[in-house]
């Protein structure tokens, strides 16, 4: 490599380039923040939905499931589970409540989390709200 390749120029491109693209990223973030309210329907985030999200987190649901495609890939996608279960909260609640404590021999099974009816309802509300986010038509079909 010749003298025509100077270290100070390389450094300037590193600093300038990163700064340039970081600023661009910040700009795009502003635009995104502006357009999110129309897509996430945040006006529908009731205390119930918020509590449902907390329950989702405190039981580490993401450790097996994906939510909008992110998480573990061990259990079904739940971003659209409300749709998949016939837009019926009761079906979701009944499924979670009925998981056997000792599991199913030889098969994957969701643990029994011992949630009360109010908690089940909050969780279902959260999943219902999540299914209404504008995700650019993802997942490709109802199976998630």
């Amino acid at each position: 490599m010749s003298d025509k390749f100077t270290k100070s120029m390389a450094r300037n491109i590193f600093i300038g380039g990163s700064l340039f693209f970081f600023l661009l990223f910040v700009g795009l973030t502003f635009d995104t923040m502006g357009s999110l309210p129309k897509r996430d329907h945040r006006e529908n985030i009731t205390p119930q939905v918020a509590n449902g999200k907390m329950l989702w987190e405190e039981n580490n649901c993401i450790g097996c499931h994906t939510l909008l495609g992110e998480g573990a890939y061990f259990a079904p996608e739940l971003g659209n589970v409300y749709t998949r279960f016939g837009q019926n909260k009761e079906v979701i609640k009944a499924f979670i409540a009925s998981r056997p404590v000792e599991g199913i021999p030889g098969r994957r099974s969701m643990p029994q989390f011992n949630l009360d009816d109010q908690q089940l309802d909050d969780l279902a509300e959260f999943l219902k709200w999540t299914s209404e986010i504008d995700t650019n038509n993802w997942p490709p079909n109802v199976q998630g």
Binding site: M1, F5, T6, K7, A10, R11, I13, F14, G17, S18, F20, F21, F22, L28, S35, L36, R39, D40, I45, V49, E57, E58, N59, N60, I62, G63, C64, T66, L67, L68, G69, E70, G71, A72, Y73, F74, A75, P76, E77, E102, G103, I104, P105, G106, R107, R108, S109, P111, Q112, F113, I133, T135, N136, W138, P139, P140, N141, V142, Q143, G144
Partner: protein, 460 residues
């Protein structure tokens, strides 16, 4: 070892390798749960095993980065570490915090852990990779600040080289972007948007700076190539990494509620993300070919070259495979993602830490530049076993992913998730087998530290 205080790195590396072993054992447990679903149920359900698997990975890489910094910075700065005591103290704080956290995962239900650590005061738990209790996260921040202070003071009052400045920048970025993990709004879309500021800007941003500087250090030391040349390469590689990687975050913003234009921006920039990794491969081989000396530590050179190649394959090629929005529409959240994740993390980050360990450990154990020939041969067996195993794990997961996408996401009669999982089970069995080979490789690798024999001197 030119400075006595470099020796603190040894503690960090031992902890890193212990946690690495734990990570692999839990990986095997999960791999078995993929085919025999009730294995260890309900004592260690899959989600707990996964938390341990991913969290020990993150923590052992952090231990590795810190150890690498403690070894590298005094040598680059040409002075002793600002405070070796602080380095030792922080080591024990971090180790105890990590140990307690993992014990918490394993001993009590996660919701109990959340209650015990008062997650409701500042809820940050229960998000992928950031499952640690809030108090552990605060502990990480404290350790990171103390560490940065120690390293920063050493660099600022010593010789400033491109390598230690880039390393410091990367470590600072690591600490800064971790702060986003404390932001957890009730709005899932916002939560996910900012969650990536930690996760993506770590692994496809500032961590690449750390990777680049450690690689550059090992190459300078083992090849004797002019520092000037290596430093120019380093700048160009990390410039390309950030130029493509920052807007490349967009490839996570396709389907989480964020605007459609991210599909265009994310696709364009992440299509270019393989470039810095490709440059890194060219760089590493070029430097080794132009070497001015034959360093006796052949194993360290092998790790460095292996890291460059596997990072390119795992992060570059496997990343590119599913990064374009029209492809990702079908592959998002499938085993394809898992395939990419395994090879990328092993290739880029596990291997760079192992390269640094391989280079520095001989100095720290017996003061000579290289282990005995016999020990190196064993170490290289470990290298090949682990590396080939990860290639097969990746290939099997890719096979599983392709079949999963085909069965579950395409066609007129898509199968349900669980029936698609049953159909791809053969790939999971193969992956499980490859996992055992990986563990075997790890055992061989760990054994290489105990082979002994006459250490090798620098060849004239």
């Amino acid at each position: 070892m030119k400075y006595e205080s470099q020796g603190v790195a040894k503690l960090y590396f031992i902890a890193a390798l212990a946690l690495f072993t734990a990570q692999i054992i839990f990986g095997l447990i999960m791999a078995f749960q993929y085919v025999v679903g009730d294995f260890l149920f309900p004592e260690i359900p899959f989600n707990v095993a996964r938390m341990v698997h991913t969290n020990t990975l993150i923590v052992w890489l952090l231990f590795g980065f810190m150890g690498a910094a403690y070894y590298l910075v005094p040598e680059e700065s040409e002075r002793e570490l600002h405070s070796p005591m602080l380095a030792k103290l922080l080591f024990w704080v971090f180790l105890v915090a990590a140990g307690l956290t993992v014990a918490g995962y394993l001993l009590v239900p996660y919701s109990t852990l959340a209650e015990l650590t008062m997650n409701d005061l500042l809820p940050t738990m229960g998000r992928e990779f950031l499952e640690q209790p809030t108090i552990t996260k605060l502990g990480i921040v404290v350790v990171a600040l103390g560490f940065l202070f120690n390293i920063g003071m050493t660099i600022l009052s010593g010789r400033k080289t491109v390598i230690n400045i880039v390393l410091l920048t990367g470590l600072l970025g690591l600490a800064v972007f971790f702060l986003f993990s404390f932001y957890n709004p009730a709005n899932l879309v916002l939560d996910k948007y900012w969650w990536w500021w930690t996760v993506h800007l770590w692994v496809e941003g500032v961590w690449e700076l750390i990777l680049g500087s450690i690689l550059a250090f090992v190459l300078i030391k083992t090849t004797g190539v002019d520092r000037e040349v290596i430093e120019k390469w380093l700048y160009i590689i990390i410039a390309m990494a950030l130029i493509t990687g920052i807007i490349g975050t967009g490839h996570h913003y396709y389907w989480i509620g964020t605007p459609e234009y991210w599909q265009l921006l994310g696709s364009v920039f992440s299509a270019l993300e393989p470039i810095p990794f490709f440059m890194m491969t060219v760089f590493a081989f070029n430097m080794v070919n132009q070497r001015r000396k034959d360093h006796p530590n052949k194993a360290a050179v092998l790790w460095a070259l292996g890291c460059a190649v596997m990072a390119f394959l795992g992060a570059g090629v496997w990343g590119f495979l599913h990064t374009l929005a029209p492809v990702n529409y079908y592959t998002h959240g499938t085993q394809i993602t898992a395939a990419h994740g395994h090879m990328a993390f092993y290739g880029a980050y596990a291997m760079i830490v192992l390269a640094m360990i391989s280079y520095s450990m001989p100095f720290m154990t017996h003061g000579k530049p290289a282990n005995s020939n016999k020990a190196q041969v064993v170490e290289m067996w470990g290298f090949w076993l682990m590396t080939i195993s990860i290639v097969f794990i990746t290939l099997f997961l890719t096979g599983a992913g392709i079949l999963q996408v085909w069965l579950q996401r395409m066609g007129d009669n898509p199968q349900s998730f669980m029936s698609a999982q049953d159909s791809v089970a053969v790939f999971y069995w193969l992956r499980f087998a490859a996992g055992w080979f990986f563990l075997g490789g790890l055992v061989v690798y760990l054994y290489s530290f105990f082979v002994g024999g006459e250490p090798q001197e620098e060849s004239a």
